[in-house]
Symmetry: C2
Subunit: 411 residues, 2 copies
């Protein structure tokens, strides 16, 4: 398998504030054409270290992708150092210079002389056009290696890579195509998921299976290699089908969709409408649902009834019900779901009430206790949850469980 390494250049990437996100995107694209990423380096605007990093990379890897450091200032050293590491000359390319000048002219400005530096090209490199900026990229074949220079800003880097680099690298990589799929799971723990599906996925080296737990959701990543995309996809279909047999409804997405996308699609397809009453989630359920374009077709209204008085006035929860059972109770959750559904005249009413912490917990009703409820014309149900985590996580998990309750009803 052809191997690659990625070098991100820029002193700002060595501060605690910035992380290199380009390399994740590049890894995905490289993997997709069957190229494995074996190393990533982040190096500052430091001539000696960058040169050493490039030289080391060339010893090990078939493809070396550099991002960043193609700007017009003294600090932008990638062009100069890449040429030095390759033992090639760097010289002004008049044609590239004219193109940069023309760009500035088009913007109604004169090219600052400093930008002429961006027309310096490594001897023998193919120049890669940059429709979204002034810095062209470069593609250099060197012995049996390839070195690619890309600009740092993602909106310049990504289209350049896709239009001018990917096809060439794909050809170099030969007959390997990689397909990927992300299954998302709700309502089960990581070890429970692994226990059920390990007997299936451990039988295969291809597809490869990775279970990721990001604090809030479990994702099952499947990666398959084939001679064609179809072959790889077929392998994925086979394993995904077996995993579905084991997990059933707990899988809410087969293509990486979010919970709110899945729920929104089902509501839209069914022509249903929804209203939401939230206490401890404080608007998060409504916020997630309305992140989806077109959600105004099914999401009618939400209320955040933080105070008890608001629970009574906005969704008609009887004050004595709150007094008898407490605001965090199955009874109040159901009354909230029914009340918001009735007042908004929707097909479904969904509610959440709980103790998100860090304060407000008692022995009977500790931090993490959450009730969710769903009402439709026929009946009302609720779930009692004990959610681990801090305030932020408890709120997120409660919103996920509420949306999942609705999803299962909509199946």
């Amino acid at each position: 398998m052809l191997t690659a390494e990625i070098i991100a250049v820029g002193s700002e990437l060595l501060t605690p504030f910035r992380t290199d996100t380009n390399s994740l995107w590049l890894t995905d694209k490289l993997n997709g054409v069957g190229i494995e990423v074996k190393l990533k380096t982040i190096v500052g605007d430091d001539d000696a270290r960058l040169e050493e990093t490039i030289r080391d990379a060339l010893k090990r890897s078939g493809v070396v992708v550099l991002t960043g450091g193609l700007g017009p200032t003294e600090d932008d050293i990638t062009r100069k150092i890449a040429a030095r590491a390759l033992g090639r000359r760097l010289s002004l390319d008049e044609k590239v210079l004219e193109e940069i000048r023309a760009k500035f002219l088009h913007w109604g400005r004169k090219m600052p002389e400093i930008n002429a530096r961006q027309a310096m090209v490594v001897e023998g490199a193919e120049v890669l056009p940059n429709p979204n900026g002034t810095a062209p990229g470069m593609y250099v074949e060197h012995d049996s290696r390839v070195v690619v220079l890309l600009p740092g800003p993602p909106r310049e880097m990504k289209p350049m890579f896709e239009s001018h680099v990917l096809a060439k690298l794909s050809e170099r990589a030969g007959q390997v195509r990689v397909a990927r799929r992300v299954l998302r799971v709700a309502g089960m723990g990581e070890s429970a998921v692994d226990e059920r599906i390990a007997p299936v996925y451990t039988q295969y080296k291809n597809p490869q299976t990775t279970i990721l737990f990001n604090n809030t959701e479990i994702e099952i990543h499947l990666t398959a290699q084939g001679k064609t995309e179809q072959e790889a996809e077929l392998l994925l279909d086979g394993l995904a089908g077996q995993i579905e047999e084991r997990l059933g409804d707990a899988i809410f997405a087969f293509r990486g969709e979010t919970m709110e996308e899945v729920v929104g699609l089902r509501l839209a397809v069914g022509g249903f409408t929804l209203a939401v009453a939230e206490s401890c989630t404080g608007g998060l359920v409504a916020h997630r649902l309305t992140e989806i374009p077109g959600s105004s077709n099914y999401f009618m209204e939400g209320v955040v009834t933080y105070s008890n008085e608001a629970k009574t006035r906005l969704v008609g929860v009887p004050a004595e019900l709150i007094e008898r059972h407490g605001a965090v109770s199955a009874e109040v959750a159901e009354a909230m779901a029914e009340g918001v559904k009735r007042r908004a005249a929707t097909d479904f009413g969904l509610s959440v009430t709980g103790v998100a912490g860090p304060g407000g917990g008692t022995i009977e009703k500790p931090v993490g206790l959450v009730y969710i409820s769903l009402a439709d014309d026929a009946h009302t149900e609720h779930r009692r949850l004990m959610l681990p985590g801090d305030r932020h996580l408890i709120r997120w998990r409660a919103s996920q469980a509420a949306l999942d309750l609705l999803r299962r009803r909509l199946i």
Copy 2:
């Protein structure tokens, strides 16, 4: 200045799904005691590449910090390869082995034999205890260098580094202390901020100033070096004061606080209460406010009036007002703010209505048009905004502007 490099070990960090977050935290801590991070590498579970990476690092840097690869499986190669790169023996430490056995016993389990591997110690290393896991860390002084081996999981790595590594490195770094401050700005563009404060901050090499724009907010990061913390803080005070003179109220946080923290604190201190009516932000304003612990003391209720009917029923916006001016209008925004304030009987009513897109825009009311309004007992005001970005960004920026309107009233 003492320099460091960070090596993150683990093949999962070379997939498109995982990013190395440990190094940001470590960079912050190392910078804090005056150590500069000059290079970061991410390497898979690959003996030869890891050995080469460590050897290269030792040639360049005074401190080499490795994270990950200390688990009990075959894939966990950091111990073995670090010993090899340092030319030191790796041998079983009976005392460490006993401690690991005791941990399992404490959990009511027998130690799996595989975990004995975690008791292998590099010759001459100081063993660093791990209260949150089984893998101990190691601290090795080698010639004039230091090599530190830390576990990968942040909840094991961070306390270990803080308790057992930071003080030693701080001493090595000598008399340099670094202090940092983050100022956050609302309601101004990046270039407007830079134009106003560049004449001030460019006069100083210490503190150093970096302006970061994360798509939604502008942050001004100040970093100062001094012989003592006090000296560094004093330098920060001086520059922060000058920047405040130039930006005034536009700075909403001087210590990195979020907008909802600042607004929440001001509401709590003033003993004020708030209710929120949202249309296009769909619950985001309520969600952000209620992320803050204790927000139930000032946040009374929120309504997400997505449909016109809900605007009338829930906050009393006259139907004819919506018909005459449209749901996205200054008039409706003000009626929403006044209505939610009146019904919830709070000190403030805050509202948002707009076109978040991608659909729903017209020539008169394009995507990005947002009205925000704030009502108190004395008067009601509104702002008309034209916000750039996609649906997600428009919603976020609208929520930020609404919270900022309230913040300015509370000053």
